[in-house]
């Protein structure tokens, strides 16, 4: 089946690069918070792909790439943030706004789903982006993040709910969600 592997490897990578560089950089950016670092991370990720025995990744390429990308991005973040060694275990840089979703004043200011997304814990944002931006399945997200599939499902469920409630609470004219379902 894959006898042409060696020959096609170059093109394979090119196609993958074309298709996935954008989503991968975006993903790494979410972790590193810096576009240039994110680019470096993705370059490293693809370089590692080139030196990997590809047959063993057959069918898992995408989760594999996301996992490598995630690890590298986390490494970068760890190295860059001596100031706050807890950044990873905390995983909740935004917990300062737990009331953001319920305060009436703030409701008005949420125009987009993305803004609501931003108020969620970092981990939840990550999972939601992997699902809706990078279009990975629950199972693949589980492989990449190490969360259980159940947990992934729960995070997505709760996140969508927060976004939904927020958008439904907006005045009709502004609510994209309402417009879609009414």
């Amino acid at each position: 089946m894959r006898s042409s592997e060696g020959q096609n490897q170059g093109t394979d990578v090119k196609a993958l690069l074309h298709r996935l560089q954008g989503p991968l950089i975006r993903y790494a950016f979410q972790i590193t918070g810096d576009v240039e670092r994110a680019r470096d991370v993705v370059q490293d990720t693809f370089l590692q792909l080139c030196s990997e025995h590809r047959a063993s990744l057959n069918g898992h390429l995408e989760p594999w790439l996301y996992t490598v990308c995630r690890n590298r991005a986390l490494d970068v973040r760890r190295k860059e943030s001596h100031m706050n060694p807890l950044v990873e275990t905390t995983a909740e840089p935004r917990s300062d706004s737990p009331d953001a979703l319920i305060s009436m004043e703030q409701r008005e200011t949420f125009q987009s789903a993305l803004k609501v997304l931003e108020t969620l814990p970092a981990r939840q944002q990550e999972v939601i982006r992997l699902k809706f931006q990078n279009e990975l399945s629950y199972k693949e997200i589980s492989l990449v993040t190490g969360l259980s599939v159940t947990n992934v499902g729960f995070l997505i469920h709760a996140g969508l709910k927060a976004i939904r409630q927020n958008m439904l609470a907006q005045p009709h004219a502004n609510s994209k969600v309402l417009r879609r379902i009414k």
Partner: protein, 760 residues
């Protein structure tokens, strides 16, 4: 049974993540629940809005130099040149293109709906679109890289927008008006992917075209021949959206899923699994549910506070693990009630036949002396070791690959024998393991064959992935098969909670446990390890399974949970124990329940015997604290306007009794179905905390530490220094040394916080 519209399975269903059986089950439920159908629609709509917005984020690219470095490395030394993408990629592309086609049509349809409503999306006008960044598309190599500039209507990401490089395509959708439908028709007719088009682009065009132009609507009937799943009826558009969307999800999900399962069955599966496993250990994947501190509530508006007791102690042991390893714990891992309940307090045992006794102490709050602190203590009846009823235990042990580290399976293998040693010939033990598959390692064996049991434990080895679901099933079946009437029937689950195959849905897993709990078999959950420790899952399992939950990080902790507190862990003396407090507004301005955030019940649930609540074990103590703002001093708290149609609360004569509150308890006997009620009125004698009991001081020290680590807005003037003083004052005899250990931990936390300040 009606499905809860908030069930996470509905989300999984709406997103096409369920397998056929589960999907069928949900469809069945949907027939009966309007609310659930509504929820599914809303979830889909939200998902689409979200996807759309995410797509509009600027596309990022590697630099020319970065790309060519990769391409250089990807060329085999003796390259014969570049050929087209491999067959495999093509096949995948075809599948994905087919899937994306469905997406196009769905969006097309919903876009059409918007235009019908005249709700034209103005922010779309003039938006620049280009190649979408959707990863779900495979494209033949494109000679020119594409950069896209979007006008961001929401300044969410501070990403420098790149200027288009040479050869970039920038397209205004105005130019594309009408093109969307045409493109889509071509694709549909040919049934093959158009190599130079990408999903994102298709979708956007479709949307734009349809919202801008009154293009002919794609009738649902047009979908059917393509899907190959046409049913005879339902060609009327008026059949409604739900039906339509359900069809769509039917059509799209099998496609995507078959694609996936094909991939997962390949030979590389195991190798990659191992690889992922190895890499996963490099980063922390612990999961904690968010906890928001209970706020102060005005006694006039919320006179009743109702919650379920909680005897779990896991959060404290977990916190200790963090502090000892030199890190402050994540905020949400700090559950104050579990910290307080880790320690036992010298409450007096019940005198009569009641399963437990209640004691209340009131004094000023050390962190805010103008507030009162009410400590409610329950003490379960002690049962002497020789009076212990016979036990039927099933050890359900996770032996998946993630259990290899020394603080997981090896610790279990040293810890459980401590318990086995204490059992007698009246007791039975079975051992069930689960990983990729689950199995009965040791059938239920009486404890006069201890050597056999110990050998079975000794031989356990870790390896494979985890299917918690079927292991739990088998364990309960074993427990039920050996049920001892009037005895202790219990499954003891030892795991890191990382269920990654099998019953993958938290809702389903908890439902399974809930169902099994009705059989009279109780559950104890022992959490082990770190790294991918799933605190939130485990707590929920124990909660649903009429159980308790402890975190075991050392042999010492195993001894505490399994030997010293064996009675409490194994023998339930009362179940569904609920506490309701009625505050007297004459004396109480406002109050706040400290901790128990995920145990709050509605006031009506108190008298509702079908509502599950916590269990109390033999000899267990349970402690809960309220912080009370005296009447007249609640001024600064947020309240609501005076009501128009009702008079403010009219107080009864009893409010002049000088009582602060009425404590009400409900519980059921372990095998009972109707609850019994205990009521205790409580008065405040105005004690200051310095005059309070040692237990009061110590418990407030624990609460204060919890609030500091949670960075609670209610921590008042509490500092780690004052926590130390309080704990020292409340240490007392401390035979087992747990309180001394707490004091050490406070010191460790202080070191960490000060260390942090220095590096800042």
């Amino acid at each position: 049974m009606k499905i809860d519209p908030n069930d996470s399975r509905l989300t999984a269903y709406a997103l096409g993540e369920l397998d056929e059986t589960e999907q069928g089950a949900i469809e069945h439920e949907l027939l009966h629940s309007e609310a659930a159908r509504q929820a599914v629609e809303e979830i889909r709509a939200t998902a689409e809005v979200l996807k759309e917005e995410l797509r509009s984020e600027p596309r990022l690219q590697l630099s020319e130099a970065q790309r060519s470095s990769i391409q250089r490395k990807s060329q085999p030394a003796k390259s014969k040149g570049l050929f087209g993408p491999s067959k495999v990629l093509y096949a995948g592309g075809a599948l994905l293109a087919a899937a994306s086609l469905l997406l196009v049509i769905y969006l097309n349809w919903s876009g059409r709906r918007s235009s019908l409503e005249n709700a034209f999306d103005t922010d779309r006008k003039g938006r620049i679109i280009g190649r979408g960044s959707s990863p779900g598309t495979v494209v033949k190599e494109s000679p020119k890289p594409v950069e896209v500039v979007t006008k961001q209507s929401h300044p969410v990401q501070q990403i420098p927008v790149q200027a288009p490089t040479k050869g970039a395509e920038v397209q205004f959708d105005r130019k594309r008006q009408g093109a969307g439908v045409g493109t889509e028709l071509i694709v549909r007719n040919e049934g093959v992917p158009q190599p130079q088009l990408q999903t994102g682009q298709l979708v956007q065009k479709g949307l734009v075209a349809n919202s801008a132009v009154t293009a002919p609507m794609v009738p649902p009937a047009a979908l059917r021949p393509m899907s190959g799943m046409g049913s005879g009826t339902g060609n009327a558009i008026g059949m409604g959206r739900v039906r339509m969307q359900r069809q769509l999800s039917f059509m799209s999900s099998p496609l995507i899923q078959s694609h996936e399962s094909e991939e997962l069955n390949t030979s590389g599966d195991k190798e990659v699994g191992r690889w992922l496993q190895k890499n996963r250990q490099n980063f922390n994947t612990e999961a904690y549910d968010r906890v928001v501190d209970n706020p102060f509530l005005r006694a006039t508006q919320n006179p009743l506070s109702t919650f379920s007791i909680d005897v779990d102690t896991a959060a404290y042991a977990n916190l200790r693990r963090f502090l000892v390893s030199g890190a402050l714990p994540p905020k949400d891992s700090v559950r104050i009630e579990e910290m307080v309940n880790y320690f036992s307090y010298s409450y007096s045992a019940p005198k009569n036949n009641d399963p437990f006794a209640a004691q209340v102490e009131v004094a000023s709050a050390p962190w805010k002396p103008e507030h009162r602190l009410v400590k409610v203590g329950l003490k379960g009846r002690e049962i002497a070791q020789d009076k212990r009823p016979p036990s039927n235990l099933v050890f359900l042990i996770d032996v998946s690959g993630s259990m290899q580290p020394p603080n997981k399976l090896p610790l279990i293998k040293r810890g459980l024998p401590l318990l086995v040693e204490k059992l007698t010939e009246n007791d039975r033990v079975a051992v069930v393991v689960y990983a990729g598959a689950s199995g009965l390692v040791l059938p239920s064996t009486t404890c006069d064959h201890k050597a056999k049991i110990l050998a079975a434990l000794e031989n356990l080895e870790a390896g494979g992935s985890t299917n918690g679901g079927s292991g739990i099933q088998l364990a309960y079946d074993t427990a039920i098969a050996n049920f001892i009437k009037g005895g202790t029937n219990r499954v003891i689950l030892a795991t890191d909670g990382d269920f990654n195959v099998g019953v993958t849905n938290q809702g389903e897993l908890t439902r399974l446990i809930e169902e099994k709990a009705k059989s009279g078999v109780f559950l104890s959950v022992l959490g082990f390890g770190m790294g991918n420790y799933k605190d939130s899952t485990l707590e929920k399992l124990a909660d649903k399974g009429n159980g308790n939950y402890a975190y075991v990080d050392s042999l010492q902790e195993a001894r505490k949970v399994l030997v010293e507190e064996m009675g409490g862990t194994l023998i339930t003396i009362a179940k569904d124990v609920k506490i309701q407090v009625e505050f007297n507004p004459a004396l109480v301005g406002a109050y706040r329940l400290i901790g128990y955030e995920n145990r709050i019940l509605r006031a009506e649930d108190f008298n509702d015997d079908t509502k599950d609540a916590g269990e109390i074990g033999a000899g267990h103590t349970v402690t809960a604290l309220y912080e009370v703002v005296p009447a007249g001093k609640e001024g600064s708290l947020p309240g609501v306007d005076a009501l128009k149609y009702q008079k403010p609360v009219e107080v009864t004569r009893e409010s002049m009794s000088g009582e602060l509150l009425m404590l009400k308890l409900r519980y059921k006997e372990p095998d009972g179905t109707t609850s019994k009620l205990i009521q205790v009125p409580v008065s405040d004698r105005g004690t200051t905390w310095t005059q309070a009991s040692r237990d009061f001081k110590f418990a407030s020290a624990v609460v204060a530490l919890g609030m500091i680590l949670r960075d609670s807005p209610y921590k008042g003037n509490a500092t780690l220094g004052s926590v130390l003083d309080l704990a020292e004052a409340g240490k007392g005899e401390d035979k087992q040394g747990y309180r001394a250990e707490f004091i050490e931990l406070v010191g460790a936390a202080r070191g960490l916080v000060e260390g942090r300040k220095v590096t800042d």
